[in-house]
Assembly symmetry: C2
């Protein structure tokens, strides 16, 4: 009986798919983009507002062009989904091109965001069938954009006889974003595909908007970024995850000021400080181990200092269990793989739920 | 007190490291290589014996040049470890270059194989410091070779004042290898670094030699490979993990013969059949879903047929829980990330321990 059902299902699919062989593309500008801190950007697909050009450090500005944390929302009843996208063309030897400059599609299915498939890049100009052979049901989709590259153009393709339209954002918390500030790891290095950075995993798990302000190698407590974050009075939480990028001196000099900029106009918004993970290779590299332990100690000292001066709504996450203890969670001792991000998201989810409840 | 210890430790390290600033390279040919099915190969760093050249299909022969599953063993008391290696220069857009053509170093520490760090490739010719700042203790090392590329030359560098020597293989089971036959997934697509393919994870977890006969896109039940596997009368287990690469017809036509070739000269060696994972994107791609379910059904039928004809020492692994149910374990719906391989290794480890006890 099951075999008959399967056969009828496959036959029905084959008919539907062959009836929908043409692809029609729609400019992604038609659909909402989540994960931006400001709409006032030079082009649509970037993270930093144009007023920061020239006023923040150049590497930070350039990394703002990377689309980490941005995601397109739409709904369609198409049986296949395609994408065309143009990127600058970055490449790194410890991250997949799919993570760096690819796309990653999820659908809302049975009350959760379910992976559909990734869009694998061929170069600067890309056109890919992401998924095919679906039943023609209307579904909500979320398309995560590249973690370490910029998007110059993007369009979404569907079967020409299907419809595509505005998403239902009513059950997705876009009004009170969680804003994450940090490093290459925060930006998503080195997830295998865009959906596997820890902010993007949590975005799905908590079904609420995350804004990713991770800047590879440049989470150096720039006050311009704190000023930018502080403009979002609707933020439900600020996460500060910058320790791997700062020196011991910078922690002592800049943490308190960075925090005070956030807090000045947002007296009740919780702030979570995250230690750096004790990177797996530091089991052997004693110099790195000493430095990581010392930097975490200094962060703790800053946090305790704030607590003792009566500051409220601040939280602290120790990293003992953040990515497990088996040493297997990174690609290069430092940057997390999907295994590392999955573990971190699991630890962090509990912590965030405690803070936000 | 802890701070003083840390300071003294760092100071001692700094002294030791500066005293050992020169690097001396040793040809890896001096040290044993594990994971080869035969020593009778064209060059040292490849998987298939030269008698198969021209007699097996060309893509299989070419993939035999990829070094997946090969690992170098040595011991040293050096505080830093370097490598020089030359590769053909493969690249794939859904796998890191570190996984494709990089190196991956582990050390035996506290009774287990502990990740040290990976060697990240820059191109065809590579030279990398893998780890530094270690205490000068003598340790056993295992260096996993590229998963999807060939090695033309390899040497290991240490501090010039340190020593490097032959490993102690006495507690590592090299005599009774587990031989795994299969597909791109078996070969390690798409682990972030060589140590994270499932056979390499299990190699460490069970501390015994695995021989990787995964051939990307070409696990098509070639009888020449069965003949090759059958020559290893010392094998403790044959794992057959080929389903993603074969058609329904090929399963029916070739599975029994492939098995009989293995069994003919190895009457008591257990054989484990593994279903294909139900790939995450097939939640939506109904055509793929139907095909995967059908192929698993046919494999089960072959297995049951053997059982009913009185064949002993055969085992079967269903894939319900193999890589989890959340859809997050692959980069492209098919090929496993480190998260997928980690989950698969965990499931498979239990199964292997049951079979081997």
């Amino acid at each position: 009986m099951d075999k008959i059902k399967l056969f009828v299902g496959i036959a029905l699919c084959s008919f539907l798919f062959s009836a929908n062989a043409q692809v029609t593309y729609y400019d992604a500008a038609l659909f909402p983009l989540i994960g931006k801190i400001s709409e006032n950007t030079e082009t649509r697909y970037e993270r930093l507002p144009k007023n920061l050009k020239g006023s923040c450090r150049e590497p930070v500005w350039n990394l703002g062009k990377n689309t980490s944390g941005l995601a397109l929302r739409f709904k369609t009843n198409s049986t296949a989904i395609y994408a065309k996208w143009e990127v600058f063309g970055n490449h790194m030897n410890h991250m997949t091109d799919t993570g760096t400059k690819g796309l990653d599609l999820y659908a809302w299915e049975d009350g959760r965001w379910q992976f559909v498939n990734s869009g694998r890049p061929q170069g600067k100009m890309n056109e890919q069938k992401i998924i095919a052979n679906m039943l023609p049901c209307e579904r909500e989709y979320m398309l995560f954009l590249p973690l370490y590259d910029g998007i110059m153009s993007l369009s979404v393709g569907i079967d020409s006889l299907s419809r595509i339209g505005q998403p239902d954002l009513s059950n997705f918390q876009t009004g009170h974003p969680i804003i994450v500030y940090g490093t290459s790891i925060t930006q998503g290095g080195c997830a295998s595909r865009p959906g596997m950075s820890y902010p993007n995993i949590l975005d799905r798990e908590l079904n609420r908007e995350f804004i990713n302000l991770g800047f590879s190698g440049n989470g150096k407590l720039d006050y311009e970024i704190a000023e930018l974050m502080a403009t979002r009075h609707d933020a439900s939480l600020f996460i500060l995850d910058f320790i791997p990028n700062v020196t011991a001196e910078e922690i002592k000099e800049k943490t308190k000021t960075f925090f005070q900029i956030l807090r000045r106009d947002n007296p009740n918004t919780p702030v979570l400080f995250i230690e750096t993970a004790i990177f797996p290779h530091s089991v052997f590299d004693k110099s790195t181990y000493g430095l990581l332990v010392e930097k975490n100690r200094l962060l703790r000292q800053e946090y305790e200092g704030l607590k003792q001066s009566g500051v409220q709504h601040i939280y602290y996450l120790k990293t003992d269990q953040l990515i497990g203890q088996d040493g297997e969670a990174t690609v290069d001792g430092v940057h997390f793989t999907d295994l590392g991000f999955y573990r971190m998201a699991r630890s962090l989810k509990e912590c965030l739920q405690d803070i936000l409840k």
